[in-house]
């Protein structure tokens, strides 16, 4: 089972403490004010990747399934949204919906094949299938190969709100981000999430209790694909392009790194991890260090020494944090 060592069991977090609620509200407040100080585009990018990592974590941290092919949903949705905006010229909300729909569909297809296997097999099957999707994207004319789909306008939300302005866009992305995180949190801390954890712990036993485990896994997989797709769609809307980098398996590896670095199996972990990786990438870009090597080394160090991830380590070290 791949879980942070002090995995936050569903039971632990059953009751949300008033202090937590205050903290969450405070964070939302900060999110609203943040563009005053920080570059909104960077913030939005962070939110896209944080959402992507959270979607991934929904599957790994709570479903125990390591997908090595999540780039397919992220990048696939980005392509569809970009295409919808550029060629069909539909409203951004519909473009995002189409993107998410595509990710859900793709998730269903890949999921149906992948959930037949577990653990390592699952990882390898998702990797191979997403690589197949990558080749499809590479060769399909509508993606424009190496160039990608570029240079379209963001359009008007509901035909009214112009998203060209990055502050407007920021609040839209932030709203989607917060709503999605809440949805993920809700899914994890729901009766469904409880069964999901049970399936992860002991599949045979869950079957004998009458749960069709394949459906639970598939359900989690498709939901995760959907949120990953939403992240990809938002990213396409933000940057106004969709390219091969987002469907490449390196992206699948990166999202794993983000989640692992931040801490598996908690809501905050992937967000922190995504923030760190994106900042690291931006920082390394002008530092003169070889990026791949640094990422590889980070990966190794995390796996060997900080498996709990940053959030996990913090919780472990600061016992006051996890008031019983």
């Amino acid at each position: 089972m791949i879980v942070a060592e002090d995995y936050e069991t569903v039971a632990d977090s059953r009751r949300s403490h008033p202090a937590q609620r205050v903290l969450v509200l405070a964070l939302i407040g900060v999110l609203l004010l943040l563009p005053l100080w920080v570059y909104p585009v960077l913030l939005m990018k962070l939110m896209c990747f944080a959402l992507f990592a959270s979607a991934f974590n929904l599957l790994l941290g709570y479903g125990g399934l390591l997908s090595f092919g999540h780039a397919a949903f992220f990048g696939g949705a980005a392509y569809v949204t970009a295409h919808a905006l550029k060629v069909w010229e539909i409203n951004p909300e519909f473009a995002i919906l189409t993107g998410v729909g595509a990710a859900l569909g793709l998730g269903l297809v890949i999921g149906l094949l992948a959930v037949r296997r577990q653990g390592i097999y699952f990882a390898m099957v998702t990797l191979a299938l997403s690589q197949m999707f990558y080749f499809f994207c590479l060769q399909a004319p509508f993606t424009h190969g190496e160039d990608g789909i570029q240079g379209f306008s963001r359009g008007k939300l509901f035909g009214i709100v112009d998203l060209a302005d990055s502050t407007t866009l920021y609040y839209f992305v932030a709203a989607m981000f917060v709503a999605s995180l809440f949805a993920i949190w809700r899914i994890v801390h729901s009766p469904f999430g409880m069964i999901l954890q049970a399936v992860r712990e002991n599949e045979q036993r869950a079957i004998s209790l009458g749960y069709s485990v394949q459906r639970y896994k598939l359900g989690a997989f498709v939901m995760s694909a959907g949120f990953a797709g939403l992240a990809g769609s938002l990213k396409a809307l933000l940057f106004q392009f969709a390219t091969l980098t987002d469907v490449n398996w390196h992206m699948s590896g990166e999202v794993i790194l983000m989640t692992l670095l931040g801490g598996i199996g908690s809501i905050a972990g992937p967000i922190v991890g995504a923030g760190l990786v994106v900042t690291l990438q931006n920082h390394l870009a002008t530092s003169g260090f070889p990026v791949t090597t640094v990422l590889g080394a980070t990966f190794i160090v995390c796996v060997l020494l900080f498996r709990r991830g940053i959030v996990g380590e913090l919780r472990h070290r600061l016992p006051a944090w996890r008031r019983k």
């Binding site: 060769q139 190969g145 240079g151 392009f241 390219t243 980098t245 990438q281 931006n282």
Partner: protein
Amino acid sequence: EPYRLGVLTDMSGMNFDLSGKGSEVAARMAVEDFGGTLLGEDVEVIVGDHQNKPDVGSTLARRWIDEENVVAIVDLPTSSVALAVQEITRQSDTALLISTGGSSELTGASCSPSTAQWTWDTYALANGTGRAMTLEGDKNWFFLTVDYTFGHALEADTTAAVEAAGGSIVGKVTHPRETSDFSSYLLQAQASGADVIALANSSGDTMTALKQAEEFGITAAGQDIAGMLLFLTDVHGVGLEIAQNLTLTTAFYWDMDDDTRAWSQRFAERMDGKMPTMVHAGVYSAVLNYLKAAEASGQATSGSQVMETMRGMDIDDFFNRNAYLRKDGRVVHDMYLVQVKTPEESKGPWDYYKVLRTIPGDEAFRSVEQSACPLLDD
């Protein structure tokens, strides 16, 4: 605050050799040669590694422009990143000096008034090689095309050039990108009896194909091989043993005359003896000419105005022969059809090409009529 030039390149990926560090060095050389100041302010070169990721590239470009007083962004390997950054520089009216980025789209439908595509584009290489080789007598062509937009574009451009010059296409086969084994394709190419086997693909694929062509004794059996997109570093990578007799088009070769040799020697001294590729020379030339034009236009904040000034300037130098900047951002200059020397002909490291013929710029590059750039309409 000093004016900054941002070299946005690939410091960790597949374009590292052909652009990467060398582009940085070339840009610095240009700034030094210009005197280090522009309009009374210092000029600084900063470098960014976009890791071939458009989002990293465009975030960085935005930050440079908004916060670091970057007045020109230079180099831009990887077409998806180049296109993404071009959108940003178009909005902020920042100068964009593309040397490694070779997508024809940059000066086609996506063209921007503040961009100059300095060195090459896929059209020029395909067209140059196709036309020149057909004129040299290689009439029947067989394509080995990488199966995505880039490869299809290369193939289409070459085909047009070959047919215009009186040649014909006898067959083609498409292969997936990053194929590790070309033998089936090569055998088909061999069986076709074509005069030329054209490799409409890029670096990794091209080199593997070359290596395996040698293994199957294809060139030895009399067929020529043409690389549609190859850099000096690629030839260095496979070695002369394998690349010998290969024909290709380039914008620059270091060993053409005293000027090119002199500059290249200076470059090599700073690069552990590595000779410059065409994009390195292009970066140097682009930066130097940009600085001249900015000085002349009396300002550096508007990229499109600098470009406008440059259009009126004489931009000939050791790199650019018969050169001018077109409205769509294309720098038109002479290109060269070269053949790779055999190991016996080569006198030492980096002595790789012999120049077969010069391709005049107007013949090499896409004409104004063929371009889809809206800026050309008015």
